[in-house]
């Protein structure tokens, strides 16, 4: 099976990092994974997208052709990539105002709010929403994602990201689809 995931937001929100964590988790589960990213020369504050393909077969073309899932972390990302999503779209309601007539399944994940409330405003909403996606879709296991965080994230931020991962995972299991 091949799953295509796109994460769109602004540079600096951890868009690329969350895609890397998901890809790394796929690799840990012995799957084929490809992760790519596109951002502007400003690096921060402008449209940034990252893509992950996780597959049981070798991946010929490593870029997303049709996203199964989209995580929208900013309105600009939502505007550009929400049109063509097959299965579900996860968005942060603090940062994204969805179209009134959207037909794709929309799932609000209050990642920024939770990060502010539970983690003292630390910038980990990317990991919260990624973890919610993984929990909701069973793309990768919690163990693999935890291991990916351990491999990828610097020691000083490991504990914080683990907390974010836990919170996101719980949210992902709880959410009801809100179409």
């Amino acid at each position: 099976m091949k799953r295509q995931i796109r994460i769109a937001g602004l540079g600096g929100q951890g868009v690329v990092l969350s895609a890397r964590l998901l890809g790394q988790a796929g690799v840990i589960e012995k799957k084929y994974a490809a992760q790519s990213s596109t951002y502007g020369p400003e690096s921060r504050g402008t449209l940034c997208r990252a893509e992950v393909i996780i597959s049981d077969e070798p991946i010929d073309y490593p870029y997303v052709t049709e996203a199964d899932f989209l995580i929208a972390l900013a309105q600009d990302g939502y505007k550009n990539f929400s049109g063509n999503v097959k299965d579900a779209l996860l968005f942060d309601p603090k940062a994204v105002c969805p179209h009134a007539r959207a037909t794709t399944k929309h799932i609000p994940i209050p990642a920024t709010e939770i990060a502010l409330r539970e983690l003292d405003g630390k910038a980990v909403s990317n990991v919260i929403i990624l973890s919610a996606l993984a929990a909701h879709t069973s793309l990768v296991s919690k163990e693999s994602l935890t291991e990916a965080v351990r491999i990828t994230v610097g020691k000083e931020f490991y504990e914080l990201n683990l907390k974010a991962l836990d919170l996101g995972w719980r949210l992902g299991l709880e959410v009801e689809a809100n179409v």
Binding site: I59, D60, P62, Y63
Partner: protein, 413 residues
């Protein structure tokens, strides 16, 4: 384990100040004695989830690269960043230079001091390196230059992929000369072809280019680092006494020497005889030298050029592709097969020297050349293909990666 010769023989090299890009720290590379004692620093064999730029840096270190000089430019920066971290660990030297002209100049100098050396840049930086590329060709200096291509001309779109330098890399310096250019299509190949680039540079004493782009540079895939015995690393051929700039064989590659080995070394971009003496008015020496500089590559093109074929056996439609576009081409060829088209893929791992004979041997009715430029290599394919083969160029010029759908559509038309 490889037995390495001491890398730096210049007694004046003591310490080199490196700018540590990622943390803003200042690191001091080891002194010359430490460098000679601590020559490994290779990472252990295994699987790594690397991006292209990281794989290039690690491939270089594996190949024995112990000197990097560069000037930062998107989308090549991660190569420089990783080299700034890893070279001191591996007993090498990293220098951030004032510009790309000086970067390649420093690389050429380091090579003549005995090191294997590399620089990395993007199209605009390659333009600045043009002068020293000619100098490296004329002085037969083995070096590796990574061109992480982006949309141009000029500053263009700094973070967007393009294959716009395929001709620049071949023709940017003056006069007639040959270089070698490799075009990896996966992160595994970013690693392996970097090792091969160093091997080719040492074998033919020529600058070797790795034609990456913004897409593959920032693509992350699994890269398997093989064990120490599983990947050949070629070291510099030496022959004390020389001559170091000529051979009797018109396609030959002379052995090299380094400063500090006690040889009388004259290195010049002016026309020179086999001992390096300037011969600036002798037509015979001019002809002999430049003929050999070209023929050592062209007459060995079949040995140098590497390619892979997929499903070409019975194909009447062949897609000729290189780099990241070949990934889209492979997907498109499989989809075309599902629709009953006898399609195949010829993937060029080596773009320069151009594999003319292989293209000419294709008996296909139609050849498609998908590229992220306005058809630079399609012209080469057209020139090399048989008269009764129709060659079609498929272009993508907006700074996005070409898709399988675009290639499939052309192939089905």
């Amino acid at each position: 384990m490889r037995q390495d010769a001491p890398y730096f023989n210049l007694p004046t090299v003591r310490t080199v100040c490196c700018i540590h890009l990622s943390r803003g720290e200042r690191l001091f590379a080891p002194t010359i004695n430490d460098m000679n004692e601590n020559l490994n620093g290779d990472i252990p064999p295994g699987e790594y989830f690397w991006e292209g730029n990281e794989a290039v840096a690690e491939g270089a270190i594996r190949a024995g690269c112990r000197f990097f000089a560069g000037y930062p430019i998107s989308p090549s920066i991660e190569i420089m960043e990783r080299m700034s971290n890893r070279l001191p660990e591996a007993g090498g030297v990293f220098v951030q230079m004032e510009d790309e002209i000086a970067s390649l100049g420093a690389v050429i100098g380091a090579v003549w001091a005995g090191a294997k050396a590399m620089t990395a840049t993007s199209g605009p930086g390659l333009s600045l390196m043009a002068e020293n590329i000619g100098y490296a060709v004329m002085t037969e200096t083995p070096c590796v230059i990574v061109d992480v291509q982006r949309v141009g001309p000029s500053t263009g779109q700094a973070t967007r992929p393009y294959s716009g330098d395929m001709m620049q890399v071949k023709w940017c310096s003056s006069s007639d000369y040959q270089i070698i250019a490799l075009s990896p299509w996966s992160i595994q190949e970013m690693y392996e072809l970097t090792v091969q680039a160093f091997n080719l540079a040492e074998t033919y004493r020529v600058p070797v280019f790795i034609m990456s782009d913004a897409a593959i540079a920032h693509l992350r895939e699994t890269c398997t680092v093989p064990g120490m015995d599983e990947l050949a690393v070629l070291d510099r051929r030496k022959s004390p006494g020389g001559p170091h700039f000529g051979t009797d064989d018109p396609r030959g590659v002379p052995p090299m020497a380094s400063f500090g080995e006690g040889e009388a070394l004259l290195i010049t971009g002016s026309t020179h005889d086999e001992f390096g003496y300037r011969k600036t008015q002798d037509p015979n020496i001019q002809k002999k030298l430049t003929t050999r500089l070209n023929e050592k590559i062209l007459r060995n093109a079949d040995k140098i050029a590497q390619m892979e074929e997929y499903l070409t056996g019975d194909a009447d439609t062949v897609v000729v592709a290189y780099g990241i576009a070949a990934r889209a081409a492979l997907a498109a060829v499989k989809q075309a097969r599902n629709r009953g088209v006898k399609a195949g893929l010829l993937r060029l791992k080596t773009v320069w020297p151009f594999p003319e004979r292989t293209i000419h041997s294709l008996k296909a009715r139609r050849i498609f050349v998908p590229e992220m430029n306005r058809g630079q290599i399609a012209q080469e394919v057209q020139r090399s293909a048989r008269a009764n083969t129709a060659v079609f160029s498929i272009t993508r010029v907006d700074g996005e990666v070409i898709t399988p759908g675009e290639i499939l559509e052309a192939v089905l038309s």
